[in-house]
């Protein structure tokens, strides 16, 4: 059972008080009629679904009934932070730089691969 800190109520509450409402920070296209079917389908259905750090929305159904965001690891289920709607996360997934083994590129210390959990 997750214990989630509601940033509005400013309290830890049990998972059962909330409902999960999907990936966060997805911007609805400003003019749906003007974009392609492909772009509209991408917006409606395609999701990041990472194994690791995920930014997602939760709704405090049995509490203040407001939406907020959470940064949670989808593998360990550890919640790193919760933050109000409209804010940006402090904890983000490290950017992974792909090494190209076939072309034998030299990997500099700056280009270290991020931790893929």
């Amino acid at each position: 059972m997750h214990h989630i800190y509601c940033p509005y109520c400013e309290e830890m509450r049990e998972e059962e008080e909330y409902s999960y409402t999907g990936e966060a920070h997805i911007e609805r296209p400003k003019d749906p009629a003007s974009i392609s079917d492909e772009a509209w389908g991408d917006y409606l259905f395609f999701r990041a679904n990472p194994r690791g750090i995920h930014h997602e929305m939760w709704y405090h159904a049995a509490g203040c009934r407001r939406y907020f965001n959470a940064t949670r690891d989808t593998h360990s289920y550890q919640i790193h932070e919760t933050y109000k709607m409209g804010e940006l996360p402090a904890v983000t997934a490290p950017t992974k730089v792909k090494a190209k083994p076939k072309t034998k590129a030299k990997v500099t210390p700056e280009e270290q691969q991020g931790d893929a959990s």
């Binding site: 059972m1 409902s19 079917d37 389908g41 395609f46 194994r51 989808t74 076939k102």
Partner: protein
């Protein structure tokens, strides 16, 4: 007796297309003579070669079935199945073993019914007992709308040549004497759909049967081999980077269920999939009391009884994305409260083990069987909460897609681009599991 044994041994030395040692009553007797010390390993554990014609990523039921049919039907045997853990250790090991084909839409029901057809003779085909038991499946209705949906779905099934009957409360009670047929409870049983040809099968056995079959055709099953990257050149697949080194192939098929998004990200693709925990649990063994499968959409529970006597119970998915192969207890509690209302005599039965899988749910509760924008890269995923029943059918049609580089007619409606064209096939109702 000794001469019969000698003839049998001689017959087994006749070279054949594939070298599988046949299981039979006679082989059981023969092995007893050497105290069962000479049984051969069911499959080889080879070192991966540098190059294959086809790499199948994911050694679960669907991946192994794909490998088997690729070899058996299409004669493509230079194939490797790469599994990051042990064969069938993912969702194949964790499901509630239900097999049925009573879905609503033509496209979905035809695909699942094709799979049901293959289940019927699977033990014979694989020479491996998959314990397919056609004990019937009940989908309960608890209110007027449920019953209307059931009438509609059963009629759709019958129009498609799939067996189905609408039952009333008394008829359900006759099949399941221990069910609560009171009309005064919160979710009374008003009736059900009944697919007599549905049932259950042994989940591990179907994986092992397909593994043994694929291996006997020369397919390499490589375990403890995790794919860490998909390598492409000029927009086409050339191979995969793994924890056991680089393995080349012109065709890479991802059959990775909940981890499909991780695979897709390796080539910069996104999928319309969200990976959710799906929990299941078994009770302590009890005497035979339920000899069919009972599912309830409304109360989020489905139950059958294994041959060992345990009640095998499944829940709806947890609502959040999760790769942890575990979920939250409130979901289990919710399911068990439904079970207790439906089967009051089970209120004292203790639960023995609970676990979870990672199910790849799609927005329309239908799978993805598709080529991609990357040449040579194919995906078979998105089966969500209903993949087990499709194990043979999925492998069979996907093998066709791989062999011909064109989707099998039954697989064609399930391409990835339906999420951009809008041709979704909504099977949330028939999926029978809360998402």
């Amino acid at each position: 007796m000794v001469s019969i044994i000698k003839i049998h041994i001689a017959l087994q030395r006749i070279p054949s297309v594939h070298t599988m040692k046949k299981y039979s009553g006679f082989s059981l007797f023969k092995h007893s003579l050497s105290h069962h010390e000479n049984w051969q390993a069911v499959w080889r554990s080879p070192q991966p070669k540098k190059q294959y014609d086809v790499i199948i990523v994911g050694g679960g039921g669907h991946g192994l079935a794909t490998a088997y049919y690729l070899a058996k039907v299409h004669g493509i045997t230079n194939v490797a199945v790469l599994e990051k853990g042990y064969l069938g250790g993912g969702n194949t090991a964790r499901n509630t073993t239900i097999v049925r084909s009573n879905y609503l839409w033509d496209e979905a029901s035809k695909l699942y019914d094709h799979s049901l057809d293959l289940w019927k003779d699977l033990s014979q085909d694989l020479n491996y007992n998959v314990m397919f038991s056609q004990r019937g499946v009940l989908n309960l209705g608890h209110n007027l709308q449920d019953m209307r949906d059931i009438e509609r779905r059963v009629n759709a099934n019958r129009l498609n040549g799939i067996d189905g009957v609408v039952l009333n409360t008394a008829e359900v009670k006759k099949i399941v004497p221990v069910i609560n047929d009171s009309q005064d409870i919160r979710y009374p049983v008003l009736g059900a759909s009944w697919q007599a040809t549905g049932g259950v099968a042994r989940h591990d056995a179907v994986a092992w049967g397909f593994a043994r079959g694929a291996d006997s055709f020369g397919v390499d099953l490589i375990q403890q081999c995790e794919v860490t990257d998909i390598i492409k050149e000029d927009g086409a697949v050339v191979g995969v980077q793994t924890t056991q080194g680089f393995i080349g192939a012109k065709k890479v098929a991802c059959v990775t269920a909940g981890n499909s998004g991780v695979m897709a990200a390796m080539v910069g693709l996104r999928l319309p999939i969200e990976s959710r925990p799906l929990q299941a649990l078994v009770s302590e063994p009890v005497k035979p009391i339920i000899d069919t499968v009972i599912m309830s959409n409304a109360v989020h529970a489905y139950v059958s009884q294994s041959d060992k006597g345990d009640l095998v119970i499944g829940a709806g998915t947890d609502s959040y994305n999760g790769y942890g192969q575990r979920g939250s207890f409130n979901v289990v509690e919710h399911t068990l409260s439904a079970i207790c209302e439906l089967f009051p005599m089970l209120s004292r039965v203790r639960m023995n083990r609970a676990w979870g899988g990672v199910v790849d749910t799609c927005p329309d509760a239908c799978p993805i069987l598709s080529k991609t924008s990357v040449k040579g890269l194919y995906f078979n995923c998105g089966w969500g909460t209903g993949g087990f029943k499709a194990t043979p059918g999925s492998g069979h049609v996907f093998a066709h897609t791989l062999a011909h580089d064109e989707p099998h007619p039954l697989a064609a409606p399930f391409s990835l681009d339906r999420f951009n064209t809008g041709h979704l096939i909504d099977e949330h109702g028939a999926a029978g599991v809360a998402h």
